[in-house]
Amino acid sequence: MSGLIEARGLTLRHGRREVLRDVDFSIEPGEIVTVVGPNGSGKSTLLRALIGALKPSRGKVTRQRGLRLGYVPQGLRLDGSMPMTVARFLNLPSRVEAAACAKVLDEAGAGDLAGRQMADLSGGQFQRVLLARALLNDPQILILDEPTTGLDQPGQASFYRQIEALRDRMGCAVLMVSHELHVVMSASDRVICLNGHVCCEGHPEVVAQAEEYRALFGTGTQGALALYRHEHTHRHDHAPGETCDAG
C-alpha cells in the first residue's frame, strides 16, 4: 500500500447509532487533508479510528508498519489531580532527551513552558504543548482534531501558520479536522466533506462547488460563510459587507 494510513469500508457504531458508514480513506506522504462536516458528522470518530483508539464495527484500518504518528486530540483538559510538568509530559510514553524536548517546544512556540504544570497552562499554551508532543520522534503524519478550539482568532491564525511552516520544513503529512475555512481553501491539498459517510472529496475549490457540500453548508462562498458563522456566534465580528453577502 502507498498510503500512510488507509481505511476500507470503515463503519463504526456508538451503541446503536451508526456514526460512520462505509468510509474509504487514504493519505499520502506530505499531503495535507482537511475533514469538514457539521457537528456530529463523525469527524473526530474518523480520526480516532485512524489512530487505533476506536475499533471499527466493520471494515479495516491499516497503518503503515512502524508509522511515526503525532496526534493532537480535541478538547483535552487535565484536571490537576495528577501533578505533571510539561517536560515530564513530553516524556510519555517513552523517555526522550532533554535537547529533543527543548527543540519541539521551540518549534511549537512553547519554548518557555518546560517547567510549568500542565494544569496551569492557558488554552493556547496547552494546545502548543500538545503540538510539541506530537512533533517528537519526527512524525510522518500529524493528526490534528480541531487543534485551535479555545484559541482566539489571532491565536488560531498563528497556530495554523505554525502547522504550515512545520509541514514545509519536516515534509510530514497533515490530517486535520478544522472549521477555519481559510485553512481549508488555501493550505489543503484535499478536503473531505463528511456527514456519516464521505459526501464528497477533492481539491478544496472543487469541493466548495460540489452539490453535496452546498447541501450541507449552503451555496458557493456563502457556503463557506455559513459554515464559518455556524461555528462562531459572534456575528458582530464580521464586516457588514460579509453579512450582506451571506444573507
Binding site: 480516532r48 483508539a53 486530540p73 489531580s81 495528577m82 501533578p83 515530564r88 510519555l92 510514553p93
Partner: protein, 266 residues
C-alpha cells in the same frame, strides 16, 4: 525479631502501606475511589467463601476481588452509569459477604477482624503474603508505569502512541485485587480504600511530578502506619482505624502546608 508480635505488626502495616502507594496514586488520578470501595467490600464475601471451602483467606479474597473488579468494569463499559453500578456493587458485595458469613458457624469467624483488620495477630505467613503481594504490585505498576500514566491522562493519546488503554486498566484491576487481599489483615475491608486514597491525596499538594507524588504517598503511608500503630499501642485504640486516622491527620497537615507554599490545591 519476628517473634515479637509488635514487630510483626509494624512490618505488616508498613508493607501494606507500601503496597497501597503505587496503586493509590492511580486511584486518585483516575477517580477510582468508589471502585476501590466496591472491590474491597467484596473481600468479606471472599473471606466467607474461603472459610466455607477451607481454602486460604488470601486466595479467597483475591479471587472474589478480581471477579467484582472485572464484573463492575464490564458493566460500566456497557454504558451503565459508573456511579450507579459502583454504588450497587459496593453495598451488594458487603451485604452478601455479611450474610454469607452468618451461615458459617463456630468460633472460626471473627467478623470484626475482617471488617477492621487484626494487625496484632499477624503471623509470619501473613507477613510473607503482605510483602510478597506488595512486591508484585510494585513490580507490575513499575513495569507499566509510563503507559499507565499516559492512558490515565488521555486514552486517545495513549492509543496514538501504540499503548492499549484497555490493557492498562486490567493492570490496575489486578493490582487492586492484590492490594485488597494484602491489606485486609491490616486495616480491614471497610478501610482499605482509605489506605489507598488518603496517603496519595496527602502527597498531592506538595508534589510536582507523578513520581514525586508516588514517593510522597509511600512516605505518608509509612508514617501513618507506624504512627497509627504507636497510637493504638499507647491509647489502646483499634490499630486499623488508628492508622487511617494518622493518615487523615497527615492529609490535613499537607493540605495546610500546600496552602502556605501557594500550591495549586490551596
Amino acid at each position: 525479631m519476628l517473634d515479637d508480635f509488635l514487630v510483626r505488626a509494624a512490618l505488616a502495616a508498613v508493607g501494606a502501606a507500601l503496597a497501597a502507594a503505587p496503586l493509590g496514586v492511580f486511584v486518585v488520578w483516575r477517580r477510582m475511589a468508589y471502585f476501590g470501595d466496591a472491590t474491597s467490600h467484596a473481600a468479606i464475601l471472599g473471606v466467607a467463601l474461603a472459610l466455607a471451602l477451607s481454602i486460604p483467606v488470601f486466595a479467597g479474597t483475591l479471587v472474589v476481588a478480581l471477579l467484582v473488579a472485572f464484573g463492575v468494569a464490564r458493566l460500566t463499559g456497557r454504558g451503565y452509569a459508573a456511579d450507579m453500578v459502583l454504588g450497587v456493587a459496593a453495598h451488594a458485595a458487603l451485604a452478601t459477604g455479611l450474610v454469607a458469613a452468618s451461615f458459617l458457624s463456630g468460633p472460626r469467624l471473627n467478623l470484626e477482624a475482617y471488617l477492621f483488620g487484626d494487625i496484632l495477630a499477624v503471623s509470619k505467613m501473613d507477613l510473607a503474603v503482605i510483602w510478597g503481594g506488595g512486591a508484585s504490585v510494585a513490580a507490575l505498576i513499575g513495569w507499566r508505569w509510563q503507559a499507565l500514566l499516559l492512558s490515565t491522562l488521555s486514552p486517545d493519546l495513549a492509543a496514538a502512541s501504540g499503548v492499549k488503554p484497555e490493557r492498562e486498566r486490567v493492570t490496575l484491576m489486578l493490582a487492586l485485587a492484590v492490594v485488597v487481599a494484602v491489606a485486609l489483615k491490616v486495616v480491614g475491608a471497610l478501610l482499605i480504600a482509605a489506605l489507598l486514597i488518603i496517603p496519595a491525596a496527602a502527597a498531592r499538594p506538595l508534589s510536582r511530578t507523578p513520581e514525586g507524588m508516588l514517593a510522597g504517598a509511600a512516605t505518608v503511608g509509612v508514617i501513618a502506619a507506624l504512627g497509627g500503630l504507636w497510637a493504638a499501642w499507647s491509647f489502646d485504640t483499634p490499630a486499623g482505624p488508628s492508622i487511617v486516622c494518622a493518615a487523615a491527620i497527615t492529609f490535613g497537615i499537607s493540605a495546610l502546608a500546600g496552602r502556605l507554599v501557594g500550591g495549586r490545591n490551596g
